[in-house]
């Protein structure tokens, strides 16, 4: 079942390298105890994923990925990290049962997913793809996906306002 004989192509090599980077980044992120390290290594993973997007001919998405995740989200996180103090990291007693169960759960889930993926009978040919997919994306966004697009704007506004409303310190004078 585990059939790994794959043609070694350029794409594959690139995929291999990037995926190793992504996984290593992710694993490191999980293993680091310092938050900053974690944030940075996860950013590394995000960049690797962006690379994979390029490989998958999704340059626009890759761009957005870098911009949003590596830029915005990770920065947001570091921002958060800096705002919150984090002294007593890594000193708590472990939770062996919990961690073991979590590991078992995740591994089982992965096993199931892997079984599904392995058992799938994917079409070997990738269909010819539109050249300028950024334009296509733009077109689609403003035609067929206009409603979700507008909605996302509402969503972002709400998140923005909400985040401010929550995070802002209340003036002592008020009420």
């Amino acid at each position: 079942m585990l059939n790994f004989d794959i043609e070694i192509t350029g794409e594959f090599v690139a995929f291999f390298v990037l995926s190793v980077c992504a996984i290593v980044g992710a694993v490191l992120a999980i293993n680091f105890t310092k938050v900053v390290h974690t944030a940075l290594s996860i950013a590394f993973t995000f960049v690797s994923i962006a690379g994979l997007y390029v490989l998958l001919e999704a340059e626009f998405i890759a761009f957005v990925q870098v911009l949003l995740y590596v830029g915005a989200i990770t920065i947001l996180m570091i921002f958060g990290i800096m705002m919150t103090k984090h002294d007593g990291e890594g000193k708590e007693p472990g939770r062996p049962l919990h961690d073991t169960l979590a590991a078992i759960g995740c591994i089982c889930l992965f096993g199931i997913l892997f079984y599904g993926i392995r058992n799938a009978n994917f079409p070997t040919e990738s269909a010819p793809f539109v050249e300028d997919n950024t334009r296509e994306i733009g077109k689609a966004l403003f035609t067929q996906y206009a409603i979700p697009f507008e909605l996302v704007s509402v969503l972002l506004t709400v998140a923005f306002i909400g985040a401010i409303a929550l995070a802002k310190r209340e003036e002592e004078s008020s009420q």
Partner: protein, 517 residues
Amino acid sequence: MEALQTLSWSDTWYLAPELVLSGFAILLVILDLLLPKRINRNVIGWLTLVGLLVSATFVVLLMLSLGDGTDPADSTPEFYSLLGGSYRIDDFGNLLKLVFLGASFFIVFSSLGTVRDTDVPVKAELYYLVLPAALGAMVMSSSGDLITLFVGLELLSITTYILVATRKRNRLSSEAAFKYVVMGGVASAFILYGMSFLYGLTGGTNFAFIAQGLGSAIENFEALLYICFFLMIAGFAVKLALAPFHVWAADVYQGAPTPVTAFLAVVAKGAAFAMLYRIFMNSAFLTPADGSFLQKDVFIALSVLAAAAMIVGTVGALRQKNVKRLLALSGVANAGILLTPLAINLTEMHASLFSEFIYFLIAYSFMNIGAFSVLTILTRDSGNESISGFAGLYHRAPWTAVAMTILLCSLAGLPVTGGFMGKLLILFGTFQTHTYWLGAVILVTTVISYAVYFSFIRQMFMRSGTVDAKLKMSVPATITIWVCTIVTLVLGFMPVPLLEGIDHIFSIPADLLVIQG
């Protein structure tokens, strides 16, 4: 794909309810910024109500403009489809939208005058954020496309994350919000993961596409398709708080401001159901039944979850002393019941799943909102969220106690209330399809739930509280309580008009299945 459809100005008519909501939301944000601090933010509450009402009016108008498909000569379309079917104005959506808007209306209405600034410093946000949340819910019930669905879901979720955290001075509120964010995020991830497979295996995000692709998908990727559905089930189970995915609910309900709790219990849950119906009836249900057990198994999984939710919710509520947590667990049990019509699937014998569902949803909404309104009044009075806060309520406010009793009877499914009729209909469905075990679970958990709900009644009627003074009632809350009580009774005694109405306008092929694209 056919010629790309774009939005035109004429489509604003179809989107009017949604547009009204987003418009009001933006307007109120600005208003809140401009209004001087000293002005009581109840104004925003009232305006929120106006927005909800206007939106509801448009929904009704849209419903009236739709044909019911009974008369072949009638050329009025049974539904409107926008953007290649990615957004649908049909009776499924409209009915649910009305429920969401109505529920939101009563929740906001009853909270007017009971929410205290000391508790919720950002009162304006509490009110106007209900609008985008309701908008999200409406989008979820109306979309015919995975992407739209997802965005709607996230709009609702993110808004509710914020709403939960609005008791800024309360340590519990932000903890609840955090838990909700984590669980909600994981759930979203699961749903998305499942959706990504659904997209990948069928080649479309539109339900029409998905339906077409299912046939070959089941041949080639049966296992992956199973996984895809189960991943989505997991995500939805978290959103719906079905056991064993329910544990967060109690914490979040407890931490949130009471109106938000009611919103979570009614609107958020209902919206998740709307999405579940949309997705599962247009994908899992349409998988070919011969040669694969996929369809059967998915619905069995839903049945199992429904049963587990009923059992765990009821049993868990037995030992619960905090009213909000108790109602959360009761909500878990009720989610199980609400899931049942879908879980027993649409078959030759059982075609009334939607009317069963929506009937009980309506009944459930009213009884929950009523109960939460009573709770709001009580917690404002004493700050006591424990069940003992109800002690001696009969002596302090006899009529409220009576109303609460009726609402509780409805929650417990005792005749003659909306809860009873709704449960009876759902039960009848389980028996029609010979799913006796599920029916038995419903009944037995219902009986156990008597112990839960009657413990309130014991407190209200058989114990004496620490305070004897008359309970101070706020007018909107009182009105809400009585509206809910009366509706509950009416639903119990006269279910037929509503059911006939639903039956009249609702038709499964046109309104639930998106086969025609």
